[in-house]
Symmetry: C2
Subunit: 563 residues, 2 copies
């Protein structure tokens, strides 16, 4: 079996659980069917195995370098990206009008997860390009689409998103990059952008930067932000005034350049209209947040599969009761504590993958309220718990897992970025409790969806899920009853923890119902992982909700000079 | 303030909480007093700051190399180790009879924590030497003490412990290294040893390996193990038949060489008597386990102090209720979620440090039953939760924390070893529930000690601690009622989680009582951290004990082929 992802699980999730074949009733997807879905899954797995996985460690050991004029990335990266583009995978979920395959998002996500699991750093160049192209396809003029989107979808150009600045990481209202209107309708962009993934390299003919900036005279705060296309090269082929000020050297994710970019009167082109920057950027950002969650799941998943394979091979020790020293040692998968780590990981990564694909299907069917409320959870939950699977994969390997001779330590380091970028998990918590549960009655929609699953399930876990979801609703109402955002949000991260675990329990109950009484090891595995999640994980939610219900304001009130 | 450790906290713990001055009533410590304790603490802090901290990152970037004949370590390591030895710190807690300062263990631990926090990798060479010397002082002949212990205490020799083998990591009963008795009373040692920290280098005149091996004809299992002194060099100065087969390349802790050693008919000298190897090795191992816990606390502690300093400096965002974009950004320590991370970390690292020093004092006063039952917790709890503090320190730093330009990512990578070595945390869990709670009625002694603190406390937290401790006793009795070790131990790690959190809550209640009504920021900080631990952390114990009480055998019974 592949140690990148479990194809059988993906097929269960797509066909037996989410019934993605039913999407072909939508005229957009009418050309498709299980055969085309399987073909793209096959293709993705093959390219991921042949072109992405083999250079994963080399990318980590030989990170990109900058000699003052150009950035050097190991050649395997460019080769892999060309294979990805040549297979039509950049535009897989894009409309036929721009040359895309028009695959449902849910299938596209399953395909892309192969690349994220095989080599998260190389896959990031593609992910940013796809997000950038999707944004411009939504908001760009036909000319901008021809000039930028088509070459990106063909793999000739790559894209970035330039939001953060050295003085403003999570706080976009403090963005100071300046845009000055020019006589020819273009804008002159000046400022410094930080943490720009894929921000510079020689992997593409040019790089399309999407830059959040403030037009001179625009209001303070996020309302004054506009979005600009700033290409690395001008139409003449000359360099635009965008220079690489330096590369960041990271703990992991090293194969993706991460740049400080200096815009010094660079030529930029407004996207649509001034003052729309933040709303437009969130089009890309929301997709990127799902992409981050998907990357976190993918890394956790491959870590789990490596740990499982190791635990089946490695012989050591004997069960406690049978400590006959002359008996042969057993595979460590026989030890309950190793099983605990593996089963926990399975419940995290398969639960996380279910959430990713479930959410992607919401995009396909246009259930935007549920999509909106789930987005912060999709980003944050896997970045915490599938990272935990990577931590457990190291532990299952013992000393070997701590060495760079085994891949699991890199998976951990790579995944450790995910709780940070595209809005830290703390930001996701504020977004969930401060905005999404209220917006369009998001929490009610979520709790209704969970309740519908629980109501139609005959599993003994259903009442436990229902009780937890209802309690989440009660606690949320109580938190907001006073109408005091500071108080309501004092324990937002704990709220996210609770909501996340309830959502994953929901994913497990729903998978369990899809598995039904089907026989075989695969289905038994699903049932055991569900049981683990309900018995060992869901109970964590109780104390979290207790704390929230108590209205504890310790974190709000404390005098931080005493720390 | 130092960002290595908080001296004020150490003084509180040593003098206001543990009253270490009272130890001077013991004739062994009669020469000492607060002045000498403070002087050694001062000295430790100075040497840690001047000689250990400055090369911490360089040790990580330029890890030891082996050119086939000798191992090269950056020169700062040798210089630091000489400064440590020249200050008399190797023998600080050793008796005057071998030139030691005869400091109480509890003071020695506080001193050594400075070195672990400043540079865990360099400090490891000293830690292993001290543990090795202590073992030989206990079990060696006067001649062995003169030949090996004295030069180690003078810093001329260093020491190792050689237990694991490639096929036997945690499972010592499978050790196959062979010892053949020679006519001259020595033994010829042949076998391969793995994961040997400080296993080879040129930092000392020679290296004293303590090797666990099986005398030809000895019984299988741990009963057949004996311990041998195998020096790297023979008295003639020639090399013994111990060769470096290779260095392991680790995720962190890179400055400490970690070796595979080949013993090929090497000359070894028996320690005391055959068949005593495991018991003797546990003398060193138990001390090493406390040392590992101490290292985990120290790394978490310095990570916390770095995060706190960063959070006070870094300006970003505004509190949710006051989102006036024209208001200046606030230091991120003002955000409740950042406070959550800092206060959680403070509760982990100060709680962990309290446990380390409390346990060290048990050595001084000879309370061995309590010491024995606490040892697995002292090793495992900090290696899980103070590692969590390092994880949170990265998160507080945001993107910066993920770069190698800031030290917190190294602290995390360094600390990630601690749940693995000297017996994985899973092994500690089996030791606690399978052995220590039963041995000499260990759990009763522990619960009595906790109850005594709770009974004499007027804090509102006291009844909650008492209830948790009593429930732990009830659950333990229930687990063992059937007398079936496999069933009792099926969820041993969950048991360790629960016991660990209860013990740290005890440390907090006890510190709280020591703080009393004292005024000032320092004491307010202690009160807030205690409140955090009782309100946000101790409640985790409920679901863990529920699971244990349910007698869940999922992990024991499962058919692992379905994973």
């Amino acid at each position: 079996m592949s140690m990148i992802l479990n194809r059988r699980d993906l097929e269960f999730l797509l066909y037996e659980w989410l019934d993605v074949e039913s999407l072909t009733a939508d005229p957009r997807f009418a050309e498709h069917g299980r055969e085309t879905f399987d073909a793209v899954l096959d293709l993705s797995q093959q390219i991921a195995e042949r072109e992405f996985a083999p250079h994963n460690r080399r990318s980590d050991l030989e990170e990109p370098t900058f000699d003052g004029s150009a950035v050097t990335v190991i050649p395997e990266v460019g080769k892999a990206l060309r294979a990805f583009a040549d297979a039509g995978l950049i535009s897989a979920t894009f409309p036929a009008s721009v040359g895309g395959m028009e695959l449902p998002q849910v299938v596209g996500r399953a395909c892309f997860a192969w690349f994220q699991a095989a080599n998260i750093a190389t896959s990031a160049y593609s992910m940013l390009t796809m997000g950038n192209a999707a944004l411009l396809l939504e908001y760009g003029t036909p000319e901008q689409i021809d000039t930028y989107v088509r070459p990106m979808l063909e793999g000739r150009y790559t894209g970035t998103m330039c939001l953060s600045e050295p003085q403003a990481g999570s706080s976009l209202s403090d963005v100071t990059t300046r845009a000055e209107r020019q006589d020819d309708g273009s804008y002159s962009i000046t400022g410094s952008k930080m943490w720009i993934s894929a921000g510079d390299h020689e992997l593409s003919e040019t790089i399309v930067h999407l830059v959040l900036a403030r037009v001179v005279g625009a209001p303070a705060g996020v309302k004054g932000l506009s979005l600009f296309i700033v290409p690395k090269h001008l139409p003449s082929g000359a360099r635009n005034n965008v220079t690489l000020a330096g590369l960041n050297h990271k703990m992991g994710f090293r194969g993706t350049t991460n740049a400080v970019l200096a815009f010094d009167g660079a030529t930029g082109h407004l996207v649509q209209a001034e003052g729309q920057g933040l709303a437009q950027m969130f089009h890309m950002m929301n997709e990127a947040r799902i992409g981050v969650g998907s990357g976190a799941v993918a890394l956790g998943y491959t870590g789990y599969l490596h740990a499982l394979a190791y635990a089946r091979e490695r012989l050591q020790g004997r069960p406690p009761a049978g400590k006959d020293p002359s008996a042969p040692p057993v595979p460590i998968v026989r030890h309950p504590d190793v099983r605990r780590m593996l089963l926990a990981s399975k419940s995290y990564v398969e639960g996380g993958m279910a959430l990713i694909l479930y959410t992607a299907k919401l995009v396909d069917v246009g259930e935007t309220v549920l999509l909106d409320v789930l987005t912060p959870i999709v980003k944050a939950w896997p970045s915490q718990w599938c990272l935990r699977a990577n931590d457990l994969a190291i532990q299952v390997h013992g000393g070997y897992g701590y060495t760079r001779e085994y891949p699991v330590e890199q998976f951990y380091r790579d995944n450790r970025l995910n709780p940070i970028h595209e809005g830290t998990d703390g930001i996701q918590a504020l977004d969930l409790l401060g905005r999404k549960v209220l917006l369009n009655d998001g929490l009610r929609v979520l709790v209704s969806a969970i309740s519908a699953t629980a109501d139609s399930s005959s599993s003994p876990y259903a009442p436990r899920l229902l009780a937890a979801a209802q309690r989440l609703a009660t606690v949320t109402a109580k938190l907001w009853a006073a109408g005091d955002p500071d108080k309501a949000l004092a324990n937002a991260s704990t709220y996210l923890d609770a909501a996340g675990h309830i959502v994953i329990a929901w994913m497990w109950l729903s998978q369990l119902d899809a598995a039904g009484d089907a026989e075989g090891a695969f289905y038994d595995g699903k049932r055991l992982a569900a049981r683990y999640f309900f018995d060992h994980e869901l109970p964590r939610v109780g104390p979290w909700l207790d704390l929230l219900e108590s209205g504890d304001t310790l974190l709000l009130d404390l005098d931080d000079t005493v720390l």
